[in-house]
Amino acid sequence: MKRSFIYFLFFALLFPLASAAQENVQVFKGAKIIPIAGDEIESGVLVIKDGKISAVGNEDDVSIPSSANVIDASGKVIMPGLVDPHSHIGEGDGGDRSSALHPDVRILDAIDPRSDSFNKALAGGITSVNVMPGSGHLMSGQTVYLKLRDANIIEDMLFTDDPEVEVSGGLKMANGTNPIGEGAFPGTRAKSAAMVRDLFIKAREYRDKIQKADGDPEKMPKRNPGMEALVEVLEGKRIVHNHTHRHDDILTAIRLSEEFGYRLVLHHVSEAWKVADEIAEAGVPASIIVLDSPGGKMEAVDIRYTNGPELEEAGALVGYHTDDGITDSRIFLRSAAFGVRAGMSRQKALEAVTIANAKMMDIEHRVGTLEKGKDADFVILSGDPLSVYTHIEQTWVEGRKRFDRSDPEDKKFATGGYDVFRGTFHSHDN
């Protein structure tokens, strides 16, 4: 009797909620929609159901369910949530100074899901992000792909239900001057490459032992989390995100990836314009950055705004990243606009902050375009995405509004101000 009453209460409470969720259809009507996949739609309709896109198209072509909550978005522009393939938000860390190579270190074990920096990214329209450890190591650790959901614990933000089973991040590597150092660190570029090759040769042997064991626990090598991550790299399940600037360092990164057959994304790629054809030829994606001026370090003296158009013309997959705090997540769209300014096509520049980056993170089936079946991650803009005068008015993640500029509590993350950013990356000054 008592138990059945509890059951009754349980269902009474649960059922209306569940049905409400099922019928929770949201429609955005009248906006100019930039789906990235396909032509821009002048007066479009976007239909959201259960956190997914259930339809997108012309007002005439898309039927609106009668139960739907219809939001008039006339005069606005809607595009996919931005994907940032290289960021340091979340106040995480990475490997320490004990070694130059830390394939076992995971940044997901160090991120603060309550960090203000996630609000900053949402204010910039970013909904998916590759959070990486730094570039002061040859291999500073495993990166993590995050969805900027309302999260209490880091698990709430992952792209996977179980990070122990499913790969949902990359491996951060760096070459050039940043990883050069004393003690356990290489002193030269050639030594850097030798140390990386050494480790991948070991990883290959580790993988071969596992294959030979063929499931026999007696023959299995001792578990080694670092080696396991490198085997994921060798098997193409985990992408290497390689910080690199100078043209010869870019080619070295490509050479090593070809020797061991791993999947590579080049990051920063300051001198991409010198080797754009080689990058395209190798089929390696380039994740580049906009710096307002060159210099600040020897390797960035020759960086050019024209990296974007040069890579586009060469036929390489090219995207922009923030490297937040090097550039600011709040103005990530500015990078795409600077691409156009330097000669990129509008389409490729917009892809360079959305789908191109999703492809570099193996999440293009979930995000990066507005297409039926994809996650309902999108931004509502006050105008054209490539204009300085345009503001991101709302950022939605999986059908939930995560940023609303009309709410003063949210707007402050877009503008900054007193006591807004309390937990940023200044902690390493201490």
Binding site: P294, G295, V340, S387, Y389, G416, G417
Partner: protein, 405 residues
């Protein structure tokens, strides 16, 4: 090689040189036509013309008012503005490579060294000078950076020249001073804000006494440090005080009040908390780059500060500031653009980039507006100067086309 061949070679080279250099070099007479001419001299002209003769602005008016003489080389643009004035930078002292050998903006042997002259360190051929010039900057207020209680002097220079002597407009514009947490990172002492102020006050008291004695019969021997501070106390040189946090801004105002010197406030990330106090003190502000990183003393910086300064009626200008890493310098046009997107009216931003900056630096007789008789410093754009996708298509410094198509 025989002599006649040499001569032919020489004259060929000379012709080649003229052909190559001509588009970028001295043209005594230039006319610039644009759909929009922001004169900053009272009006914005549609279909305007600016005539330039012998390095100066000859005449400004509409196309119907001005007929361009045949001998003038004509340039066209969508928009023209006066040359931009970067009101606080370190380019020329802080080089592109960021190696010890090209970083002269901060001397760390002593926290107070107002005697260090910017002209002794300015590299007119520094690549970053050319870089900012190509983004519209024709006048730089550059010199010693933030980071010391008194890091040294600043100077005013034109871009587009090869030596400091050609470039210089004012050899000694201001003394750069800094309050806040940054100083203690560069020096053992001061280790605290309060100690820093105590040290500065003592130096100003010493300088006051020194100045009095120098005018007496028992004049002490000349002391460069004391001379520099005495010039500040005498109102000959302005104190440029970098202060980001509201408490540091108030400390700067207190110091000015005590010693009654001319002052310009630099940075002022939390200016929006003390607008009334800044206004009442009558202090102009060279506001931090809009996109300054929000950590350390600039943690509370806002994109809206320039707009708020404008609304409060406080004179202000834009700066590229000092950058310790990448990018090695900022671009004031880009910094102003973000301010315009966050509440600053477009015309007010242009004025802050030109005439108001010139006024704060005391050079508005020469630069800052397109007015007959002023230096012919112009920037040509292919669209709205602040729009992300607009290019600077031409730059003219003292009548010379230093960047052109």
């Amino acid at each position: 090689m025989n002599l006649s061949y040499m001569n032919i070679l020489k004259s060929t080279l000379a012709i080649l040189a003229v052909l190559l250099i001509a588009p970028f070099s001295a043209e005594a007479q230039v006319a610039v036509k644009a759909q929009t001419v922001y004169t900053m001299d009272g009006q914005t002209l549609s279909n305007g013309v600016v005539l330039v003769k012998d390095g100066k602005i000859e005449r400004v008016g509409t196309a119907s008012q001005i007929s361009i003489p045949d001998s003038y080389t004509v340039y066209e643009a969508a928009v023209v503005s006066p040359g931009l004035v970067d009101a606080r930078t370190v380019v020329g002292l802080a080089g592109i490579y960021n190696q010890d050998s090209d970083q002269d903006q901060l001397e760390t042997s002593n926290a107070i060294q107002p005697q260090l002259r910017a002209i002794d360190a300015y590299n007119a051929r520094e690549e970053l000078v050319a870089f900012v010039m190509n983004k519209g900057v024709t006048t730089l207020h550059t010199g010693h950076g933030p980071g010391a209680l008194a890091s040294g002097q600043t100077m005013i220079a034109k871009t587009g020249y090869h030596t400091v002597e050609e470039a210089v407009v004012d050899t000694t514009a201001m003394i750069a001073m800094t309050l806040g947490s940054g100083v203690s990172r560069n020096f053992k002492s001061p280790g605290t804000r309060a100690k820093g102020m105590a040290m500065l006050r003592q130096k100003f008291i010493d300088a006051k006494e020194y100045a009095e004695k120098r005018n007496s019969e028992n004049s002490p021997s000349m002391d460069l440090e004391m001379e520099a501070l005495a010039d500040v106390l005498a109102g000959k040189v302005t104190a440029l005080i970098t202060a980001q946090k509201a408490n540091d801004i108030m400390t700067a105002l207190r110091l000015k009040e005590e010693f009654n010197f001319n002052m310009v406030l630099d940075g002022a990330a939390e200016a929006y908390l003390v607008l009334d106090e800044i206004k009442e003190a009558g202090i102009p502000v060279i506001v931090h780059p809009t996109m300054v990183r929000t950590y350390g003393d600039t943690q509370n910086a806002s994109f809206e500060t320039a707009g708020k300064l404008h609304k409060a009626g406080i004179p202000f200008a834009f700066q590229s500031g000092y950058e310790g890493y990448v990018p090695k310098t900022r671009i004031i046009l880009f910094e102003a653009a973000i301010a315009v997107a966050n509440g600053l009216p477009k015309e007010a931003a242009l004025q802050a980039l030109t005439l108001d900056a010139a006024k704060i630096l005391g050079i508005d007789e020469r630069v800052g507006s397109l007015s007959a008789g002023k230096d012919a410093d112009l920037v040509l754009y292919d669209g709205d100067p602040f729009e992300y996708t607009t290019h600077v298509t031409g730059v003219i410094v003292d009548g010379r086309v230093v960047k052109g198509d």
